[in-house]
Every structure is written in structure tokens, then in C-alpha cells.
Homo-oligomer: 405 residues x 2
């Protein structure tokens, strides 16, 4: 029996904040609408306290009350509270090598707005990317307003190592080092006064995948783009490592004397299975501006694979072997039940997954007894930006008192 | 401020068990001897309750009382309680590819007895190993008795994947599969009536290393033997993965088309940096029965390296590159601050560590900003068996009521 989730914080305001979070988490965690009485019972509050908290959450449009309904067996009318779809909202942002993205999620996790924009080569400086992101954020905030949503906070996904102050220490594929990306982005007018968190895109993508498949509690989520990252979920929680820099699958060595990598090393997975590497192997232009799907090089690659183009199939086969070797190494070290192929590997799944599975069965020690399974990401290329917005929702749910209008 | 560690368990007996553990943890966690009054203050118990618990712990010889002393500045006499060095003890056991080991630790963590025995080829069956281990356990228990210690429990370290029932699912270097090693060992007369846990040797070795260097809270402990395993410590806790099968560093791919491995795959680290692989590369007999040190092949290898034997130095250089590549991969995935070289890599440290560090600086993405450091294990080849005994001590400290005489 888990202990009742009560606490005695120090002062009146923190008691109220804590209790608001408790009440909201009862609504968020329930599989069906809950009543004020349910909240009182579950938390040990008085009915009067629970009612007062619910009124505050209703006023903040964090929860909404369903009209009373008669159940199928008759009996007393079922009334109930659920999370609101038109109150506070979360703004997810992403800077990647050749595109930027923004999305708005309501408190229930529904995507209410989404925009992806390719970045021209000349806009791939930190300042220009931040300005372009500011424009996307402006349109996202306006769209949220039209949908009766109020953006309560934002998070930014970046393809590199971030420190605790939101400094992007290293993004090899952008060739950025020690960039105060948080500072550049909060300076944009559309983001003024919004709390902004910055995290690694692969971490956020894994969190997004967890939110859509919470039953798969231990998995490696592989985000294939021009770079390759991975997010590690163990027992339903993100494994961040010591500094949040875990999961750099793209720099796992596939062949120690292989081709040079943008990170300065040799034979990294990215040089075999990143988008540019696949395009090069298929003798296609490593055309940028395409990772986000649409009509670009990735879509053409998928089409040509479907048509059985020999060069493309051979390039995908070679990439799959390398991905399978690196993923097997990760599984030998991390001991996870599943691998989720995301980013460009989601549309390329039919041509890549079988070989990845073959390598796992051959190379992962525990697969002789309990082989990890491979599946396709539910979110694909959207995972990081959706995960960014999800991380904001988690913060709102953890401390709704800080997000009251 | 951490919450006071009080609880209200359901019945009288569990209240007492819980409070015994609280009182004992106050003694174990203190940097200097504590008084009954200190325990009462820290736990919120009455003085009378604290005193009664201390009497029980004294009677069980889990704690001991120091004679009153006058402090250097005079003042009131300092009296105090510490963990006892002659009460309950822990039996650590290890089965490895070519040796078995046993040790006894008292409650303070001091090693009171240690024995390592080489295993002849013919004794490398599960039943014969268990019998040999039973004989070691008998001598260890007798030695404990002579030192006024009472063995309270045992744990066994094994070089393979263990499931929750203590079944050794796979130990490639022993060629054992689905062996009920726990069942075989508890059947030995010396182990009758002793609780026995079974865990992976690399996990236990990492826990042992953590206990001697708790300030290094995030590290990869690499156990080099004939096989190679790793234990992952993050923020002061063991990362076990989904099933306890994490850290299979020996089966990280160094070259996907490299030599065949005992696991069925190709190019695994063990084939470059395991003890037999090093001996083969140095054109020495891959003589077994030597991992535990002494006058065997490992000691000769160290001596020849010291004398500058070219074949040996070249073999160690080749092994170091492979180890550095695999360790770098682990660091890219796990994000840890330190690497601890243990097992055979402890005596071979001077010849291997510089190249491992070089590979890390070249291959670990975050090392461009904050390079992980490499150090030598404090325990070397003893880490796994000491870690096994340590895990028993942890259980005794967590629930002393279950270990009263």
C-alpha cells in the first residue's frame, strides 16, 4: 500500500500550492472523470478544502466539469472533473540541424498547433535560428489564443549537450559550441515573460514516446536525423546520466578506424546511418532542409525504397547493419526491453527494422534468453518538439499554483 | 531540510523492526560515535525507546559501546556507540571462470577472512564448482567463528546474467546456461540455513568500489577477467537496467566483423582485452587458473611488462585501444564522470590507462568540455567477492531485526 500523499509544508501559501497539485494530479491520473468527493477521499483533505481547490482549478481553466449524466445502469448521475482542453497550454520548440519546429499542446496533451520550417544554410547561426524560432513561436502563440488557450511555458529541444544553465555546450552537426541558446531565444518578443527550459532533443523525444506508450516502461528511443540521438527510459523514467548527456548513440563507434565524424572521432554511427550518410551511400545529394519530412530528400528516399531502387536499398541495408550493431551495444550496456525507431527511422522502418532485429539477436547477450523487441515510433519526427511541450505540461501539473492566471 | 525519518507501520513488531533499523542506521551513518541521546534526537524517539533499542543492538553485538573518554579540551566525557567488529558478519562468495573465492566482512566492512582457489578444468561444472565453493564457505565460517563473528547471510557473485530466482541464465565463458546456481550452492552443508542472494559479479564489484570511494558518485567500474563486465554507478546508486543485466561491456562490439566470441557474436571487446585475448596476443599460453593473481600468468604478464617485453607491451597496447573504444561508447551512452579500472586492469593500469584516456578524449562527445577521468580500482580482483559480502551487510543494516541471534 503506497503511503497517502499528504504533506505538511511550512506556510499557508505552500500548503495551498501543494494541495492544488495533489488535487490536479488526482484529475490528471484518473482513467475516468473524478468528483470533488473522490479527490477528498484520495488525498485525505476535507470536502470543503477539496471543493475550494477545485473552484480555483476551474477558474484557472485547468480542469473542466462534465455535465451530469445518467449511467447505463441508471443510478445516481455521474458528474466529474477532467483536465481542460482550453486553459493553460504548453509551447514546444525545436532547433535541429536543418529545420526548426513549434507546437502547442493543451493540458490534456492534445496537439493544437504544429509548424515545421526548413532553415536555409545562411540561417544556421545561433542568432538567426533564434529569430526564426521567435517567428514560429509568435504564430504558435497566436494560434493558441484563437483556440482559447493561454501559453503557460515553453521548452526548447536542441541536438546537442546542454548544461544546467541552458547553455548548448556542443552540437557537432550545427558546429555550435558554448552557445547561450536559452538567452538568445528568450530575447525574442514572442517569448517574453515565458519560462523557457532547454533540453537535449533525444531526451525529450523519449519522454514524448513514453507518454503515448506508457506500458513499454523500459526502452531505447532512437531519433534518426542528420545526427542520431537516443533517449533511455528505464522503469518509466528518463535515464539522464550525470549531466543529462546520456544516449549519444550517434557517436557510438561502429568501426574505430571508419570515416571521420563531425565530432572529431572516427567511425561513429552517424557516419553510417545518419540521414546524410544514407543519402551519400545511395549517391543522392545529401540535401538538407528535409529531415522534417514533406517533399524533401527523405520523402524521395522512402518512395525510391518502395519502388525497389537498388542503390537506395543497398544504402539502407548498410545503415541498418550499423544501426543494429550500435543499438545492440546500447542494449548490452543498458538492459532494456524495447527499441523504438523514431525520426527518419519511422518512415524507413520497413527497410531497416528486420536487420536491426537480426543484429540484436546475434549481438545482445540476453537476447539468447529474452530478446528485446523493435518497434516504430508513434510520433516519428515530431517526437522532440512534442516532448518539449510535454515537459512543460509536467511542470504545470507538478505546480499548478505557479501557473494561475 | 530532509523530512524526519519516522514512520507508523501497522503493528508492534514491525514498529520495533523499523525502529531498530533507524537506530542502527544512525550509528552506521555517523562519522563519529553517537550516544543514545543522539539517536533519540535524530529519530524523534523517546530516550527510553532509543535506550531499549540500543540494548537490543548491544545484545546482538551489532553495536558496541566505547569507554567514556575525556575530550582534548576537557569537558564532559565523550561516550559513544559504533558498529561492532565482532557480531554478525557477511559471507561473500564468487564463482568465476577459473577461480572461486570467499570472504568474511564484519559489520564495519572490515575484511576478516579471504580465500581464493583456482579451479581445475575438470571442476568447472556447476555441481563441482558449488561443492568447491561449499568447502571455501566452510573454512570461511570457521574462521569467522574463531574471530568471534557469526555469519548472518551470504551472497554469491557470478560472471553472467542472473534472473530474479537466482538462476544463472547465461555465462558464456563458463558455457553455462539456465543453471540453478543458487539451488546448488545452498545445498552445501556449510551454507545450510544461510540466506543466499545471487547477483552479477560486475554489479557487486561496482557496489564494493562505491563503498570505498563514495565521493565518486557516478562511475563505470570495469572488471577485467577472462570475461569483461562493468557496473554502472549513477548518483551513488547501481544502475541495474530492466532485469539486472546492464553493463555487459565485454560484448560491446569493437569491430563488427572481428573474431568470434564465446557469446556467438563477433568482434566483442573480450576478444581484444580479456585476459586470454591479451595472453594470446602476447603469444603466451592463455593459461587459466590465474585471474586471481598470485604467481600465475597475470603476475608473469605484469612482470614482463615491467621488464619492457615488446610482445607483451604490444599486446597491452592493442587491448588498451579496444578497451578505450568500448569504454568511450559506454560513456557516450551513460554520461558518467569516472572510469574505474578493476580486475586484471588494476595491476595492468600503468600500461593501459593512458591509452584508455586518449581514446576517451578523442571519442566521448562531452569530453571536449568535461572529460571523464580514469582511475585504478582500490579493490582490484577482490571487488566482486567483497561486493557480495557488502550487499549482505546492506541487508543486515536495512533490517537488523531479521538478523537477531
Amino acid at each position: 500500500v503506497p503511503p497517502p500523499r499528504r504533506a505538511q509544508p511550512a506556510d499557508q501559501r505552500s500548503v495551498r500550492s501543494h494541495n492544488l497539485a495533489l488535487a490536479l494530479s488526482e484529475v490528471a491520473g484518473a482513467v475516468s472523470p473524478v468528483s470533488r468527493a473522490d479527490i477528498a477521499t484520495a488525498t485525505g483533505m476535507t470536502r470543503a478544502t477539496a471543493s475550494s481547490l477545485v473552484e480555483a482549478l476551474l477558474a484557472a481553466r485547468m480542469v473542466t466539469e462534465l455535465a451530469p449524466r445518467i449511467g447505463p445502469q441508471g443510478g445516481r448521475p455521474a458528474t466529474g472533473l477532467t483536465l481542460s482542453g482550453d486553459g493553460p497550454a504548453a509551447l514546444g520548440l525545436e532547433v535541429n540541424v536543418d529545420y526548426i519546429a513549434a507546437c502547442v499542446l493543451d493540458l490534456t496533451g492534445t496537439v493544437k498547433h504544429r509548424e515545421v520550417a526548413e532553415l536555409a544554410e545562411r540561417d544556421r547561426t545561433p542568432a538567426a535560428s533564434a529569430e526564426a524560432l521567435g517567428r514560429l513561436a509568435g504564430r504558435a502563440t497566436a494560434a493558441a489564443g484563437r483556440a482559447d488557450l493561454r501559453v503557460a511555458g515553453a521548452a526548447l529541444a536542441v541536438p546537442g549537450l546542454v548544461d544546467a544553465d541552458g547553455i548548448l555546450r556542443l552540437a557537432p552537426n550545427l558546429d555550435w559550441r558554448d552557445v547561450d541558446i536559452r538567452g538568445l531565444v528568450v530575447r525574442q518578443p514572442a517569448l517574453a515573460d515565458l519560462p523557457l527550459a532547454v533540453d537535449n532533443e533525444a531526451n525529450l523525444a523519449a519522454l514524448a514516446e513514453l507518454s503515448v506508450a506508457p506500458q513499454d516502461g523500459s526502452f531505447l528511443h532512437v531519433s534518426g536525423e542528420i545526427g542520431i540521438g537516443a533517449g533511455i527510459i528505464v522503469d518509466g523514467a528518463l535515464y539522464r546520466g550525470r549531466h543529462g548527456w546520456s544516449g549519444e548513440l550517434g557517436h557510438v563507434s561502429v568501426d574505430p578506424s571508419g570515416p571521420e565524424c563531425s565530432c572529431g572521432s572516427r567511425g561513429c554511427l552517424e557516419q553510417y546511418a545518419g540521414q546524410d550518410a544514407i543519402l551519400r551511400a545511395a549517391r543522392r545529394q545529401p540535401a538538407r532542409g528535409t529531415s522534417a519530412g514533406g517533399d524533401g530528400a527523405l520523402a524521395r528516399l522512402v518512395q525510391e525504397a518502395r519502388e525497389g531502387d537498388a542503390q537506395v536499398l543497398e544504402a539502407l541495408a548498410r545503415a541498418s547493419v550499423a544501426l543494429g550493431v550500435a543499438v545492440s551495444t546500447a542494449l548490452n550496456l543498458l538492459d532494456l526491453d524495447h527499441v523504438v525507431l523514431g525520426g527518419i527511422y519511422a518512415p524507413l522502418y520497413p527497410w531497416m527494422a528486420p536487420e536491426v532485429e537480426r543484429q540484436i539477436r546475434r549481438r545482445v547477450l540476453s537476447s539468447q534468453w529474452k530478446p528485446p523487441t523493435v518497434r516504430r515510433s508513434a510520433l516519428g519526427a515530431d517526437a522532440a518538439v512534442v516532448g518539449a511541450a510535454r515537459s512543460v505540461l509536467q511542470r504545470v501539473l507538478a505546480d499548478p499554483g505557479a501557473y494561475l492566471p
